[in-house]
């Protein structure tokens, strides 16, 4: 529970931070909220020689809508998402997600950027961002670039972020009218990673037909899993119990769980099916104007 030795750097501008990362090479880690990195260092599972603390960078902490996007600064704390009126009223799926991350102490420090950049498929935001069709903005020596969420996660703890880049912003297209989303997490106890969790978004047309659907799965694969077949099965159809049940089955088939202390593969697949159905029902209710 005591970390090894490391050098601590605290840049005050993004350019300085990126230059530091470039000069330190592979032996540096970015310290954001520190809620994943610090425990790994205390267990000596991670022993970076350098920590680049980005908490001193200005202007990376915001939640706002502009130009058809909800944009969230990477240093925005989970606790801020948890209590944001904009998030609660217009993006309840993000509120659902932030609210079940770890515990209040962790949420006070943990950042949404860190949650994504850590690349852990057990983290909660990745599946939600998959369902929402988000993009992430990263900043490196050559300025900013934008990465679509489906191209961002490459494998367990591996993302498209380069060693000299810092994730700065999350961009989510403002959903059209009659949209709803929900994130449902099933965990062994509060603060634990999910046994499985499901993020679902739907957009309905005037007749109640589903015109758009997003389904992301947490902790049942090497990356967050997009349940594509399930999404396709819903699009163009009304969200009847039967159609939702089919989507649940297809999501379960799309999941790639591995048996562990949280449950067997068989059980996790069953949980994905159940949670997908529940998340879709909730998303539908929200699209129809309910809570």
């Amino acid at each position: 529970m005591i970390p090894g030795t490391f050098e601590y750097h605290k840049p005050s501008t993004l350019d300085e931070a990126v230059a530091l990362l470039a000069s330190l090479g592979d032996d540096a880690k970015v310290l954001s909220g520190g809620q994943s990195l610090i425990p790994m260092m205390k267990f000596r599972l991670a022993e970076p020689a350098n920590l680049v603390d980005i908490n001193g960078l200005e202007g990376l902490d915001y939640i706002r809508e502009a130009d058809g996007y909800l944009t969230i600064g990477a240093l925005t704390r989970e606790a801020e998402l948890d209590r944001s009126d904009l998030i609660k009223s217009k993006y309840p799926i993000i509120h659902d997600t932030a609210h079940v991350i770890a515990d209040p102490q962790v949420r006070n420090l943990a950042t949404i950027g860190g949650n994504l950049a850590h690349g852990d498929p057990a983290n909660d935001h990745p599946a939600t961002m998959v369902a929402l069709g988000a993009e992430v903005v990263v900043f490196g020596p050559n300025g900013s670039r934008t990465i679509g969420i489906d191209d961002f996660f490459l494998g367990p703890l591996a993302t498209a972020l380069k060693a000299n880049e810092i994730l700065t912003e999350i961009r989510i297209p403002v959903p059209p009218a009659n949209s709803g989303g929900a994130y449902i997490k099933f965990e062994r106890k509060v603060g634990d990673f999910a046994i499985a969790a499901v993020a679902a978004t739907v957009t309905l047309d005037g007749s109640g037909k589903c015109v758009k659907a997003g389904i992301g799965l947490t902790n049942v694969g090497p990356t967050p899993v997009r349940a594509k077949a399930a999404e396709e099965a819903l699009i163009g159809n009304p969200l009847t119990d039967d159609n939702i049940a089919t989507a649940g089955r297809l999501a379960s088939e799309a999941s790639q769980p591995v048996g562990d202390q949280r449950g067997s593969e068989e059980y996790k697949r069953a949980v994905v099916e159940v949670l997908t159905k529940r998340a879709l029902h909730k998303a539908k209710a929200r699209a129809e104007g309910g809570k």
Partner: protein, 785 residues
């Protein structure tokens, strides 16, 4: 309810006096072992084995010693020079302090690094190079008993297999016959998994040896400082440690639950390290060390059987148990009771015959078998009997409440001698269950369950009517390494009427500084605010065996009452002298003696105290003090009935405790608020293994559950709203009629929860489920997988 004999200002028995220790805890002024800092203190960290069973080929400390700040590396070879590399356990087995040639479980201590900071010590641990040669691992205790299994304790002369002990109680022949003659017999394998107390404060020590004075001072997380001092003196006498020069201070303790009764290798290494280096040494375990290497609780594999008549009359009980003790028997049972008080397995029912046997077995796991918030294997016994009763009810198609009511030992049968040899002091089991049923609305719940079941919803109701046995114990039967299990109190009344009470037991959160003051307040009528209670320092407290197994109130509480009464006897003599009457002419009411029929002619206890130092009768010794060493005539038998209501999510298998009604009877109550707190905490600690907690191992002996990521201790979020109520059946043999309550809820809660879950699924053919009732386990049961 306990009768109030004192005013709220005096605050004797039955008053919810606010805890006197809380202001310092609330203000961060508690003083725990890790708060102790000594000049020149060094820090110790421990190198632990990655293997569950391996030969040690070499230990190379060179790189560690070269690391800045590392002062020393201590190995088994260092200790061997002092013949301290092995030590006895409290069960008269032997345990390595540090190994010479072999490790026996994953996370076993292999070497210790002493350094100028915690960081340097942790770095040093990484740099100690140990070469191992893995050996065949024995994890399954049943396989450990098979012929041909590798004998693990090759160090023990004459040890030919992996059996540690065989214990039995009851009449085998009569039991076998009763089973043969019975209308109905049932049997069930029940496993109570290995769990860990996981107290919020891990174990630790600051050891300081003064080589000039030969004085060893230890600030130590100890539930039994006096017993530990004696053991240290006995084990290390040959290196010059002498009992009068060993002082153990057990300061504020952040939870014990039995986990701070054993003597861990880390303590002994730290003591050796302070002697070797001449510097004070601090060792405080990390959380993972605590979970992985410190003593576990439970790990009982039971085969339980019950015989009954068709009408539900229970006749006979038979339980055969394999107890996995890890690589050494380092349990903390009283010495003559290797299976603890498992003889309580007949529970609240009057069996005609019973037979229980327990075989202790060595495996490549950490040692233990401590009484985790349980008076020595009572939790296991209660789980067995309360599960069997429900299975019998299910088989007979009877309501489990009705079956219990039909069989309970009736109130008039006490004192009741059980067929397994215990004499229950008092009880009113039907009264407790009846109250629980009324409070929770049992009949309405049955109706609701029927309706829900028709709609396909899963709801269950579970009962546990447990009987505990606590307060070890009478000297004729109870000792630890020969030390009789009495306990003590020393009371000094100062001239101004204020009081110092010192007791032989040690609080780890129980509130002794408050409740023991209340006992004195009750007996002497002195306001509890004027009474200071001290414990935990072997240089000042009277000798006692410590706090565990709910023994503080039954034993040291009795000693406190008896010492108070000695003081009252002397006070009466002084009062008679001051009032110029004969002692026979005096009456007592809390706080004063007065002349019979003349209430104005009185002397308060404070006036008497002053006189004891200023105006005592000629021929009488001055002062007002007393000591009592109390040898209890019997154990006490708290009991209760718990009813649990669960709802189960059929999609995920998740169990939700909707309601839980706990009716407890612990005899007379000293402080209702503290009892309530004990029950709430105990219920949560009972729910934890029922639903969440377990330590298990893979075939190579790698631990699962070795950190809080995997060892699922419930938080407030998982804890339901506990409902509580009381009945009061005083202990007839205890001076204040109290029985002890700290562990009742931990013991009683698990079977109520399991019974509720099994009840919810009984229409699906489910008859039994093993704890912890994880969502997957329940989901499998629902789906017949």
């Amino acid at each position: 309810m306990t009768e109030l004999k004192t005013s709220a200002e005096i605050g004797g028995m039955g008053h919810s006096v606010k805890r006197k220790e809380d202001p310092r805890f609330i203000r961060g002024r508690g003083n725990y072992v890790d708060d102790v800092v000594r000049p020149g203190m060094l820090y110790m960290a421990i190198v632990r084995s990655p293997y569950a069973h391996a030969k040690i080929l070499s230990i190379n400390s060179e790189k560690a010693l070269a690391h800045p700040g590392v002062a020393a590396v201590i190995t088994g070879e260092t200790l061997k020079e002092y013949n301290l590399h092995w030590m006895p356990t409290l069960m008269s087995d032997t345990q390595m302090v540090l190994p010479i040639d072999k490790v026996m479980y994953q996370a076993q201590e292999v070497a210790a690094v002493i350094a100028t900071s915690r960081y340097a010590a942790a770095d040093g641990v990484e740099l100690v190079e140990v070469e191992y040669e893995p050996l065949e691992v024995v994890i399954d205790p049943f396989k450990a008993l098979e012929p041909g299994a590798p004998v693990l304790r090759t160090d023990k002369e004459g040890q030919k297999d992996n059996r540690i002990f065989h214990w039995e109680a009851g009449d085998k022949a009569a039991t076998d016959k009763a089973f043969k003659d019975a209308d109905v017999t049932i049997s069930q394998d029940i496993y109570i998994p290995r769990i860990h107390v996981a107290s919020i404060e891990t174990c630790g020590i600051v050891a300081e040896f003064d080589s000039v004075e030969g004085q060893l001072t230890l600030w130590m997380t100890s539930q039994a400082p006096h017993a530990h001092r004696t053991v240290f003196a006995m084990v290390a006498g040959h290196v010059g440690l002498s009992e009068e020069k060993i002082r153990i201070i057990s300061p504020d303790i952040g939870g014990g639950f039995g986990g701070k009764v054993p003597i861990y290798p880390g303590y002994v290494i730290a003591i050796a390290a302070t002697v070797v280096t001449g510097s004070p040494i601090k060792w405080v375990e990390h959380r993972r060390e605590n979970l992985q290497a410190d003593s576990f609780g439970r790990d009982y594999h039971m085969h339980a059987e019950l015989a009954a008549d068709k009408d539900g009359t229970m006749k006979a009980l038979r339980i055969k148990t394999i107890a996995d003790h890890g690589y050494t028997d380092a349990a903390t049972q009283p010495s003559k009771w290797p299976a603890g008080l498992f003889a309580i397995a007949t529970g609240s029912y009057p069996f005609e015959a019973a037979f229980c046997e327990v075989d202790g077995v060595y495996t490549n796991k950490p040692p233990g078998g401590i009484a985790y918030r349980c008076s020595f294997r009572v939790t296991e016994a209660v789980h067995a009997i309360e599960r069997l009763v429900d299975i019998l009810a299910d088989d007979l198609g009877m309501d489990p409440a009705e079956l219990r009511m039909k069989n309970f030992i009736p109130p008039e049968a006490f004192p009741y001698k059980s067929v397994l040899g215990l004499e229950y002091d008092s009880g009113n089991y039907a009264g407790a269950l009846k109250l629980a049923m009324e409070k929770i609305g049992y009949q309405d719940l049955l109706k609701e369950q029927k309706e829900k079941r028709e709609r396909g919803e899963l709801m269950g109701i579970g009962i546990s009517s447990f009987t505990e046995v606590v307060g070890a114990g009478p000297s004729k039967d109870f000792d630890i390494l020969g030390l009789k299990m009495f306990d003590s109190a020393e009371i000094r009344i100062h001239p101004t009427g204020k009081v110092l009470v010192r007791i032989g037991v040690q609080s780890q959160g129980q509130g002794h500084e408050t409740t023991f003051g209340q006992i004195v307040a009750e007996e002497l009528g002195i306001p509890v605010s004027d009474i200071k209670v001290e414990h935990g320092d072997t240089d000042t407290a009277p000798y006692g065996l410590g706090t565990y197994a709910s023994r503080s109130t039954p034993v040291a509480g009795a000693a406190t009452a008896m010492a108070s009464r000695k003081i009252r006897d002397k006070a009466k003599k002084i009062a008679a002298y001051l009032l110029e009457v004969s002692e026979d002419d005096l009456d007592w009411e809390p706080g004063k003696f007065f002349v019979k029929g003349v209430p104005d002619k009185a002397k308060t206890i404070q006036e008497i105290a002053f006189a004891a130092y200023t105006n005592h009768p000629q021929g009488m010794e001055a002062g007002l003090e007393a000591v009592s060493y109390y040898d209890p005539p019997n154990m006490t038998f708290p009991f209760g009935s718990y009813i649990c209501v669960v709802d189960i999510d059929s999609g995920t298998g998740q169990v939700k405790i909707r309601r839980f009604m706990a009716v407890d009877d612990c005899g007379n109550i000293i402080n209702p608020m503290i009892v309530e707190g004990q029950i709430h905490g105990g219920l949560t600690m009972g729910m934890a293994p029922a639903l969440m907690e377990e330590i298990s191992y893979d075939e190579e002996g790698n631990i699962y559950g070795g950190s809080f990521m995997e060892y699922l201790m419930p938080t407030a979020m998982e804890t339901p709203n506990w409902e509580t109520a009381k009945t009061c059946t005083p202990s007839p043999h205890h001076p204040i009629g109290a029985k002890g309550v700290g562990e009742s809820a931990t013991v009683g809660a698990p079977p109520a929860i399991v019974n509720a879950v099994v009840d919810a699924l009984s229409h699906l053919g489910v008859r039994h489920l093993e704890i912890p009732l994880t969502p997957e386990k329940v989901w499998r049961a629902i789906n017949g997988l």
